[in-house]
């Protein structure tokens, strides 16, 4: 997309925003259709494919016995990685994770970790080892809002994961001890208009973006602002309220079956 076209596209999207509209016809606080499929990868201990509109990520959970951190010998370990493989976007390049992939991985990781989604104290093993929980996010198609798709994929995959205890001689396989259901909701601000679930176009022209991760009781578990713009505290407060309520809706609509199943 050349710069001139980009400029025209930008004006168009800002123009729509002023009229509370979006290029794909959604309401400002409306998500694109969300699809979650689980257990697609039999070789992984848990897996989920999440589509939000044309955005598509595949998350695999692998579990293996390993050493705990020195300062928390009685806790399992979470390791989160995001691969922005070049298959998913013309702008992604092969190579080690860049700052965007690292930020994505660390925000997803903190969302799971800081919300207490997994009861890590239950992941110890009789021989002093603990379960290492690898959350690997493989981005397949990037059409905006990778953050929400990745976080949702991580949670869905964790919800269906089982410890491979038998394979390692630790007794029967068991589901992971999931205690909280953190859901990420990302917003952009276009001239004061707040839009949830930004498409790639919206994401690219918005000068800042905020992801708000909240738990089942509506409390905040994580936040991350990205982009070179600024936001007033009023805008932030509005986004936070909107995000927590939307998170509840997504949790119920999309993950309900997994959580209560």
């Amino acid at each position: 997309m050349s710069d001139v076209i980009a400029e025209i596209r930008k004006d168009y999207i800002y123009g729509l925003a002023k009229r509370q509209e979006r290029a794909d016809g959604r309401a400002l606080d409306e998500y694109r259709p969300i699809q979650v499929e689980t257990a697609l990868i039999e070789k992984a201990e848990g897996s989920a494919r999440v589509k939000i509109g044309n955005t598509q990520v595949l998350v695999g959970i692998k579990l293996q016995p390993g050493e705990p951190f020195l300062d928390s010998p009685d806790m399992g370990v979470i390791i989160t990685n995001v691969e922005l493989v070049p298959l998913a976007s013309p702008t992604f390049e092969p190579g080690p994770p860049n700052e965007n992939a690292i930020e994505l991985a660390r925000v997803v990781d903190r969302g799971v970790r800081e919300s207490g989604a997994i009861d890590l104290s239950q992941l110890t093993l009789p021989d002093g080892k603990v379960w290492l929980v690898f959350i690997d996010v493989h981005v397949l198609d990037h059409d905006g809002n990778l953050m929400d798709a990745s976080a949702l994929g991580a949670l869905a995959a964790l919800l269906t994961a089982k410890t491979p205890a038998e394979r390692y001689g630790y007794g029967p396989d068991a589901p992971l001890p999931i205690k909280e259901y953190p859901v990420a909701v990302t917003a952009v601000d276009l001239d004061g208009e707040i839009m949830l679930d930004p498409s790639l176009d919206e994401e690219m022209i918005a000068s800042s973006r905020i992801t708000v991760i909240s738990g089942a009781q509506g409390a905040l578990a994580g936040m991350q602002k990205a982009g070179t713009g600024t936001l007033s505290s009023e805008e932030i407060s509005r986004i936070v309220k909107l995000a927590t309520s939307k998170a509840t809706q997504i949790r119920d609509d999309v993950l309900g079956g997994l959580i209560n199943g």
Binding site: L40, E42, K43, N54, P86, D136
Partner: protein, 236 residues
């Protein structure tokens, strides 16, 4: 380990039988062309970008497009989690796979540009390089890259002194030989050939023919998948 019992293999197939294969053309939105393949327990996504500009300019060729091919395994695609990023095996596979698809691409149409093929192994169960080449070939067609024909690929091997088509993991790990081949479907010529293990000259001849038959069958599926996608769509 007994691999063949009453003429049937451990997954009940005949020696010359392929595993179930499914092609899904255009599985991705952003890529110029894409294809998702399930081949037995393998799950593979291929995407094609290009022809597009080559970035480090010294990589450009004055009178033709270059082809780049990246075979990559997802961390969770195998039993033991693998560290992300290329290892020696995937670098070799990327090379031979690129050379396997290269012969059918009409590179002269796009000087100074690149055609990039990305293959992600989402789940691995023996034969991933072949599944990747099969997916890549269809993704190239889906991207509208001008080609002289399709490339199809499968492996042949030997278990219990019998030449068999399309090995599963156990046959690959504990069998006597493994030989992936890729074929230009139009001419029947071979564009990829690797082998390790133990073949007599006679077994090798048998295996090569069996591999070509496997490729022919797969090529038919590739063509059908493409037709299915594009039938009903008008011509430009």
């Amino acid at each position: 380990m007994e691999f063949i019992k009453n003429g049937k293999r451990i997954d009940k197939r005949l020696p010359n039988e392929l595993r179930p294969i499914k092609f899904e053309v255009g599985a991705l939105e952003r890529a110029d062309g894409s294809c998702y393949v399930e081949h037995g327990g393998n799950k593979v996504m291929a995407a094609v970008y290009g022809p597009r500009a080559v970035h480090p300019r010294h990589m450009q060729e004055a009178n033709r497009a270059i082809i780049r091919y990246r075979y990559n395994m997802a961390s969770f695609s195998v039993e033991e989690r693998r560290r992300p990023g290329p290892d020696r095996r995937s670098i070799e596979i990327s090379k031979v796979s690129r050379e396997a698809i290269d012969p059918v691409i009409i590179k002269e149409f796009y000087p100074r540009s690149t055609i990039d093929v990305f293959v992600e192994i989402l789940q691995a169960d023996a034969g991933t390089r072949s599944a990747g080449i099969n997916a890549a070939s269809v993704a190239l067609a889906d991207a509208g890259v001008p080609m002289r024909g399709l490339i199809a690929s499968c492996a042949v091997g030997k278990v219990d002194d019998t030449v068999v088509l399309d090995l599963v993991k156990e046959e690959d790990n504990f069998g006597q030989a493994d030989m992936p081949v890729a074929m230009d479907v139009r001419t029947g010529e071979i564009s990829l050939l690797q082998m390790d293990g133990h073949f007599t000259l006679e077994e090798f001849e048998e295996a090569l023919q069996l591999g070509k038959e496997g490729c022919t069958t797969i090529a038919e599926m590739q063509r059908e998948a493409l037709v299915q996608k594009y039938q009903g769509e008008g011509h430009e």
